[in-house]
Amino acid sequence: MDKRTILNSKHFEITLNRLASQLKENHQSFENTVLIGLQPRGIHVLNRLKKILEKDLNTTIKCGQLDITFYRDDFRRREQPIIPSVTNIDFIIENKNVVLIDDVLFSGRTIRSGLDALLAFGRPKRVELLTFIDRRFERHLPIQPDYTGKTVDTLSSQRVSVEWQEVEGEDKVVLFEEA
């Protein structure tokens, strides 16, 4: 299987820093803003951004992890049921600015489920979407990110995977053909 790196560790870091700066620009002190990562892989983006932002601003930012398994629209259309990950949101998001975070935006269906799942925790004032990779031209739903790490043009047969130093041993984004 041919794997092509489309973002190396150096550019990976630059991208994360840029996303953090953009968030700072729009949310300043993060007083009324919470970051919510989508399980499972959005959590890595969330953790990195949290680290950068908290160091820069010298404050703690409210963060949560959201699992969307029970809100998916492909339940029973899959071979096997998906086993849920942990949802960990110990605050109410009523009237908060929420930044929803995921690693790859593809069809937009995960984000649609995420918006549904989010409502169980209150009515946010405003929801924004941050994705590390945006595979434009592959959307099934009218959903666009507010913050994008990198936009890539791909065929639907291809896969984009974001790898993390803490999990895979190296920060990079790879593109490959589905086996």
């Binding site: 699992d67 398994t69 029970f70 809100y71 998916r72 339940f75 029973r76 259309r77 899959r78 096997q80 049921p81 998906i82 086993i83 849920p84 942990v86 949802t87 109410i92 549904d116 409502l119 169980a120 925790f121 209150g122």
Partner: protein
């Protein structure tokens, strides 16, 4: 494996250890859901479930109905007391009439042992056994084991559980024995000789007739209700005598040199198998069992519904 090895839940006997652990893992997520401000998820929006209760039930029926509603399924309820069963309709006819209304999953309680299995072999819908006579009550056993896991941790190896009371008429006891043994726990049954089935040792359980000895041995005591409605003859001289010999009181609990966990599947007969102060003590997890019941039933229904293809 993210899939159950069975197509219906008729009894714990047919489940594997993996199945049970998968149900527990899924229930963890649902327990989280039912403790949120909005306790509902849309997973089963297009599923219709019939709750068929041919025998009285409060807890189990409410628990199932709540679980189904929290999964967003459509629910219809049926109880035999005010139905055509009284007019002589057979079980299969009753159920087929209900299925003609396009039902995907049936939850059934029935007074005859094997009724759930009988049904599962003959109809084109998923079947969940909510108690069939004196045979099995699988979701009760799952929620009991799940509650034990919450108290004592996920490894059941070496954990000792005693089931006290009317073992002979109890579907809860049989399902609990299967479930706990599959998970690796040691099981003992305790009660008057007349209420312990012959040859029960062949299931690999210990038998004890002295409550004190049984309690000194165990980590968890599951106290069963005396099922007067299933007893066609007298199995013990009087409730008072039963209560003196097999009733769990604060006195006996305090005389033990360790703190055991006390469980009861409900409904409780206060002052018979368990005294009020024990039922309400901090060692009793009776109400946690009820809460866990909803999460367990959500998990079972969710995993079975996942197998239905459109």
């Amino acid at each position: 494996m993210n899939n159950l090895s069975v197509e219906h839940l008729t009894g714990i006997k047919d489940l594997t250890k993996n199945d049970i652990e998968l149900i527990f893992k899924t229930a963890d997520s649902f327990k989280d859901v039912i403790n949120r401000p909005i306790k509902k998820v849309p997973s089963l929006r297009d599923i219709t479930i019939a709750n068929l209760f041919f025998e009285n039930s409060t807890r189990t029926r409410l628990s199932f109905e709540l679980a189904e509603k929290r999964l967003s399924a459509d629910v219809i309820n049926f109880s035999a007391a005010n139905s055509s069963v009284k007019k002589g309709e057979t079980l299969i006819d009753t159920v087929n009439n209900i299925l003609a209304m396009k039902v995907d999953l049936v939850v059934m309680r029935h007074p005859n042992p094997g009724a759930a299995k009988f049904l599962s072999e003959r109809i084109d819908a998923k079947v969940v056994n909510a108690g069939d006579g004196t045979h099995e009550h699988p979701t009760q056993a799952l929620l009991d084991a799940y509650s034990i896991r919450e108290q004592l941790g996920p490894d059941f190896k070496g954990k000792k559980v005693v089931i006290v009371g009317d073992i002979r008429h109890s579907r809860v006891a049989l399902s609990n024995i299967y479930c706990l043994q599959k998970l690796g726990a040691e099981v003992m049954v305790c009660g008057p000789t007349t209420l312990i089935p012959k040859h029960i040792e062949e299931l690999g359980v210990l038998v004890e007739h002295d409550l004190k000895k049984a309690l000194a041995w165990c980590d968890v005591a599951n106290m069963l209700r005396i099922q007067l409605e299933r007893q066609d003859i007298q199995f013990f001289p009087s409730l008072r005598e039963y209560s003196m010999l097999f009733g769990l009181t604060k006195e006996i609990l305090d005389s033990l040199d360790k703190k055991i966990v006390v469980m009861h599947p409900g409904p409780i007969n206060r002052g018979v198998e368990i005294s009020s102060d024990v039922a309400d003590s901090d060692q009793s997890i009776i109400l946690q069992q009820v809460e866990n019941g909803v999460a367990i039933r959500m998990a079972v229904i969710y995993l079975l519904a996942a197998q239905i293809s459109r």
